[in-house]
């Protein structure tokens, strides 16, 4: 008999714009993956309309039947009245807990007395802020992507001292979400105005690489969102993470090879390391700098920056 793993694994929302068939196929597979939590929903752009709230709810119900805890994530940059209407519907869905990714969602959820997951873009850097979140109904929280292990260790310890004991989730795998703009960079590349973008971002299921003029990958453009070009991979840090008091490791979906990634993390959380590198299956450089208090793009395992 194996002991139950201390860390839970979660599948983050798909940050890219896929087709309906792609989402459906992905979550059909994910239902059998060894992750405890799956977060659904469109967090990047309100113009991405292939999936309606009802579609997400349908997928959510199926995943619930497969034993997954399902979370619905809210859009990070709320700009218009239409965005707010969609946000209200999401918050009032009646079935699933919501991941609040901005203060509009916080307002809606806390006023309705609904529990929520506090997203990474809420900027939760200190116990006082987490205490505000706790009073507002927070059930779990995500550390800011730029927070180091040392800072997180101290933060979690201080939180426990001040009575904030809600579980913490860390972005453990994937392209790091680093910025949101009202401008769409994918449409800009295609010289289309955002209002008539023709949904060009759907052509890029893993985003569009932005390189320096000496061909070094720097960022990944994903509509209005900018991600890291490298894939953060904290697989080797899972034991340290658990020791720090982190409860959940988030894996951010990629278009290919995600089953192998999940499997590798599942092995890793049970202490089975080193293992053959499944990441050779997916073509991305790896980074882990943030975790070590360095520039996020650094790779401490190879010494590259």
């Amino acid at each position: 008999m194996s002991t139950p793993p201390t860390l839970q694994l979660s599948l983050g929302p798909v940050l890219f714009y896929w087709t309906r068939e792609h989402y459906a196929g992905f979550y059909r597979e994910a239902a059998d993956w060894p992750v405890e939590i799956i977060t659904l929903g469109e967090t990047v752009c309100s113009r991405r309309r292939d999936m309606k709230l009802d579609d997400w709810l349908g997928i959510g119900r199926e995943l619930t039947q497969s034993g997954k805890q399902v979370v619905l994530a809210s859009q990070t940059l709320i700009e218009s009245e239409a965005d707010l209407r969609d946000l209200r519907k999401l918050c009032d869905n009646g079935d699933f807990i919501v991941e609040a990714n901005d203060q509009s969602a916080l307002q809606r959820l806390s006023n309705a007395g609904l529990p929520f997951v506090a997203g990474a873009a809420l900027n939760l850097y200190n116990p006082a802020t987490l205490d505000v979140m706790k009073r507002a109904g927070m059930q779990r929280w995500q550390a800011p992507v730029e927070m180091s292990r040392d800072d997180l260790t101290q933060l979690i310890a201080d939180c426990h001292q001040t009575g904030v004991s809600q579980p913490c989730e860390v972005f453990a795998y994937g392209h790091l979400p680093l910025a949101w703009s009202s401008r769409c960079f994918t449409a800009r590349r295609h010289q289309k105005p955002k209002d008539r973008c023709q949904f060009v971002c759907q052509k890029y299921p893993e985003g569009l690489v932005l390189r320096s003029q000496e061909s070094r990958d720097v960022f990944t453009l994903n509509g209005i969102q900018t991600l890291s070009s490298a894939c953060q991979d904290l697989r080797h840090e899972l034991p340290a993470m658990a020791e720090t008091g982190v409860s959940v490791a988030r894996l951010s979906p990629r278009a290919e090879g995600m089953a192998e990634v999940v499997s590798a993390f599942n092995q890793a959380r049970q202490g089975r390391l080193p293992i053959p590198d499944p990441l050779t299956l997916v073509d991305a450089e790896i980074c882990d700098g943030y975790w070590y208090g360095q520039p996020g793009m650094d790779n401490t395992r190879t010494g590259a920056n």
Binding site: E79, D151, M297
Partner: protein, 331 residues
């Protein structure tokens, strides 16, 4: 509408006040504010002098403590809040929810303004900050179109301050971690973006190159105007094209929107640039003072004068200005 001007040091503060700023904003010499530059910002003594100078002329002073208190530095941030309150500032400009909560409990009588770094882009978000921390005013991120500002202004529970002129952040402020991805230091954690310590200039056979922590941000041909390598304003290659993939080096200038902003009930226009020289601040403040006075005199007939626009363009990044996100087609 109130004219709010940047004060990176005491001379800039005085020049801004002299040129007609209704309020100035400043920060302390540490990571507690979003313009942590070497040689910039205020000691306690300088701040006292500056506040005295402004108050004597009936002007207001705001203190920006708008970075995010880090796990090992909570006291540094609360000390800044206490210090600003003791100095008698007219408002605190805050972003972090924990720090807002602290200020609400410990200094309830000092007005709290939500910094642009608090990333509030809807009236619902403003309501959250208002209900929890009683904010009096909020500075809006530079990501909204004028139509979106209009919708928001109709339902806002607090006064609104919008950016009028200066460097243009095109990411939702407070939610941009690009700088720490490349350098380890960000606006949220250290009050810096693309920090100078990581910048390197190099003459090469390919041209003048600017680098940020060794990442090539831009390369300039002979005679091209080189700008500071703010990481989002470089030229990069995307799918075979090399261009300003994120944004051109340009400044925000909303002078022509003044009548509309006034009509929407915007309380204040903000000039960016605490890192700029006293001469810069003085010129910009002077032009905006004239414009606002003209606007108040005859709101229906307001037109930006050519000399104002030319004067501002001269002071802009890349000598060009934009309406940014206020204008829908920019997006």
């Amino acid at each position: 509408m109130e004219l709010v001007c940047p004060a990176g040091n005491l001379p800039a503060l005085k020049r801004a006040v002299d040129e007609g700023a209704d309020a100035v904003y400043f920060g302390f010499q540490n990571a507690t504010n979003a313009r942590q530059f070497a040689g910039l910002n205020f000691t306690d003594k300088r701040a006292r002098e500056g506040i005295d100078y402004a108050h004597k002329q009936g002007k207001r002073v705001f203190c920006a403590i708008n970075t995010y208190p880090q796990p090992d530095g909570w006291q540094q941030w609360t000390r800044a809040v206490d210090q600003a309150a003791d100095l008698g500032v007219d408002a605190l400009i805050l972003a972090d929810m924990g720090l807002l909560d602290y200020a609400t409990q410990h200094h309830p009588d000092v007005a709290r303004h939500l910094s642009v770094q608090g990333s509030a882009t809807s009236h619902e978000a403003l309501r959250f900050y208002h209900e929890h921390f009683g904010i009096k005013r909020a500075v809006l991120p530079r990501v909204l179109s004028i139509t979106q500002v209009r919708d928001l202004a109709k339902q806002t529970p607090v006064e609104l301050e919008v950016f009028a002129f200066g460097s243009l952040c095109i990411m939702a402020e407070g939610r941009c971690y690009l700088s720490s991805y490349l350098t380890g230091e960000s606006p949220n954690t250290r009050g810096v973006c693309s920090p100078a310590a990581h910048v390197r200039w190099e003459e090469t056979p390919q041209g003048l190159e600017s680098r940020l922590n060794n990442v090539l941000i831009d390369r300039y041909a002979e005679g091209e105007r080189a700008g500071y390598p703010t990481l989002c304003k470089g030229r990069f290659e995307v799918a075979g094209e090399t261009y300003h993939a994120i944004e051109e080096p340009t400044s925000l200038n909303t002078l022509e929107l003044l009548p509309e902003l006034r009509e929407l009930g915007i309380s204040a226009v903000k000039i960016e640039g605490r890192q700029r020289s006293p001469a810069y601040v003085s010129k910009v403040a002077g032009i905006w003072r004239q414009a606002l006075d003209r606007l108040e005199g005859a709101p229906g007939r307001f037109h930006p004068e050519h000399t104002w626009m030319a004067g501002l363009a001269e002071l802009s990044e890349g000598a060009t200005t934009t309406l940014g996100a206020y204008e829908r087609r920019w997006k």
